[in-house]
């Protein structure tokens, strides 16, 4: 596309299919301790095949 560049991202709608394993880090536990951002966490679900689509 000439005027639009789309970055590679994980599709959140598709992530509903195999998501929710609960193995990821508790949000503020081991770093900031004062906010609840979840975007900077990594997914630990080995079965989430849609992650890098």
């Amino acid at each position: 596309m000439k005027r639009i560049k789309t970055l590679k991202t994980r599709n959140l709608c598709k992530s509903a299919k195999n998501g929710g394993c609960g193995e990821c880090q508790t949000s503020c536990q081991s770093a900031c301790k004062t906010s609840c951002g979840v975007a900077n966490q990594s997914c630990e679900n080995k079965n989430a095949s849609e992650k890098k689509n």
Binding site: M1, K2, R3, I4, K5, T6, L7, K8, T9, R10, N11, L12, C13, S15, A16, N18, G19, G20, G22, E23, C24, Q25, T26, S27, C28, Q29, S30, A31, C32, K33, T34, S35, C36, G37, V38, A39, N40, Q41, S42, C43, E44, N45, A48, K51, K52
Partner: protein, 461 residues
């Protein structure tokens, strides 16, 4: 829901519900802004009017751009409807009563007397106390017993100052390691320390056993020493910086954070972040102070505006330093676009009061470290488990859709509705919001994604 913004020369369009990020030129930016409100013909006429001095903006070009937008919409990457509300809360319900992380308050006492300490110099508005090994061991057993099928279990040694109870920390780690295999668990330990008592034993043990080490440093010496003083009033900077440098040098690439707090004294906190980087540290975190609005340390509305500008300065400087080969990481700008959290995590939040709890030196359970000392927020204890089910249910119901103020917010799938403790301290309710915190959070996400856009542009030459 879309969010469009311009930052550092990039026009960015976030499609909140798919998570898609688009970097667009001015014409596409304007077309996307009008797309849902105007007809194709009207958009074409408006764009021809607006860009009448540009030879590349023809009717054909504008129609081609609209076709691209429609293709992205069709592909679920633009104007994606919000269909997640019904899922909100189901993840936590599905998780049942699983607990996977504990913050162990091994020492309710501290060897520093920092005036902004939310934990009232480690005492959490109570008596000074140390956790015994027996309590720590029971906390590990409690975590294993309540962790269901979760393999990765997190334990943070917190205080006060946990190094004031270092032998017990080592005993607790030893015990957890001795049982983790038989229960199919993997413990990840974190140590949060002010650094005063770091010695070779602490360095060796931490670098072997701690997945992460959080080291408290507020940046410039004059800023750090104005607040982080001992009980004689002496600043701690000169004592701790060499220890932190030695620990990090020996860490061999394992995770750590230099973690600072900024206050009304230094809303220009980027200078403190740059100072940490100049000291040779590369994993940096700097947080707004948590305190009552009438505290002299509290950030004022004017400070909040300054801090937002500072976040932009920080992002631009990070890109510059990265190019110069002296880059560093800022915790809030770490964003994993391709392998970040799934939608369940995005809507269900930090897990405080449900899968994450804090344990006092005497074994009481609280929803997180920031609620310790608030008697009404006691959940139970590590022997009887959670006995205040109503309170746990309140926390379970906290999610990205629990607050009406968040309904139209583009950032709700990045913050999950925000920090319950911040909300409580600002509004008196965990279902409230802390508006200045929201403003800062949104600015941080905008900056983090801009950095990704810049890195992508750089990689494509």
């Amino acid at each position: 829901m879309l969010h469009q913004y311009k930052l550092n020369g990039y026009n960015i369009v976030l499609d909140t519900c798919s998570g898609a990020v688009h970097v667009v030129d001015d014409v596409a930016y304007d077309i996307i802004a009008e797309y849902e409100n105007k007809s194709r013909d009207k958009i074409v006429r408006d764009m021809l009017d607006k860009y009448n001095d540009r030879s590349d903006v023809t009717e054909e070009e504008i129609n081609a751009c609209i076709d691209d937008i429609e293709a992205l919409k069709e592909d679920g990457q633009l104007f994606t409807p919000d269909t997640f509300e019904d899922m909100a809360g189901t993840f936590k319900e599905r998780s049942g009563k699983v607990i996977k992380a504990l913050c162990l308050h091994v020492a309710h006492t501290c060897n520093l007397n920092c005036s902004y300490c939310f934990a009232s110099q480690g005492k959490y508005h109570g008596e000074r106390a140390m956790m015994s090994f027996e309590v720590g061991k029971r906390a590990i057993d409690f975590l294993i017993e309540n962790s269901g099928g979760r393999r990765n279990l997190e334990v943070d040694f917190f205080g006060g100052e946990p190094l004031m109870n270092w032998d017990v920390v080592k005993q607790i780690v030893g015990y957890a390691r001795s049982v983790e295999k038989q229960y199919g668990k993997n413990f990840r330990f974190t140590l949060t320390t002010n650094g005063v008592l770091i010695d070779d034993d602490v360095i060796d043990f931490s670098n072997r056993e701690m997945s992460n080490v959080v080291l408290s440093l507020d940046g410039r010496k004059e800023i750090h020493d104005a607040t982080r003083v001992d009980y004689a009033g002496n600043g701690s900077y000169d004592r701790i910086v060499p220890k932190f440098q030695k620990l990090v040098a020996a860490r061999g690439g394992k995770n750590y954070y230099m973690r600072g707090t900024f206050t009304h004294r230094n809303p220009d906190f980027t200078n403190d972040v740059f100072h940490m980087a100049d000291l040779g540290f590369t994993e940096l975190s700097m947080e707004p102070v948590v305190c009552a609005p009438d505290d002299p340390m509290a950030l004022t509305p004017e400070d909040i505006e300054t801090v937002k500008e500072q976040y932009e300065i920080l992002a631009k400087e990070m890109l510059k330093r990265e190019k110069e080969g002296r880059g560093f990481t800022f915790y809030h700008y770490m964003i994993d676009l391709t392998a970040g959290p799934c939608i369940y995590k995005r809507i269900s939040g930090c897990g405080s009061g449900t899968e994450y709890m804090a344990v006092t030196p005497w074994g009481d359970l609280y929803p997180c470290h920031q609620f310790v000392g608030e008697e009404a927020y006691k959940l139970g204890d590590i022997w009887s488990g959670v006995t205040n089910d109503d309170l746990r249910d309140d926390f379970r119901a906290c999610n990205a859709y629990a607050r009406p103020e968040c309904n139209d917010c583009w950032a709700k799938l990045y913050c999950s509705g925000g920090c319950a403790a911040n909300a409580y301290h600002a509004s008196g309710s965990i279902r409230g919001i802390y508006k200045p915190g929201c403003e800062l959070f949104k600015k941080r996400i905008e900056c983090a994604i801009m950095i990704k856009a810049a890195e992508n542009a750089e990689s494509e030459g």
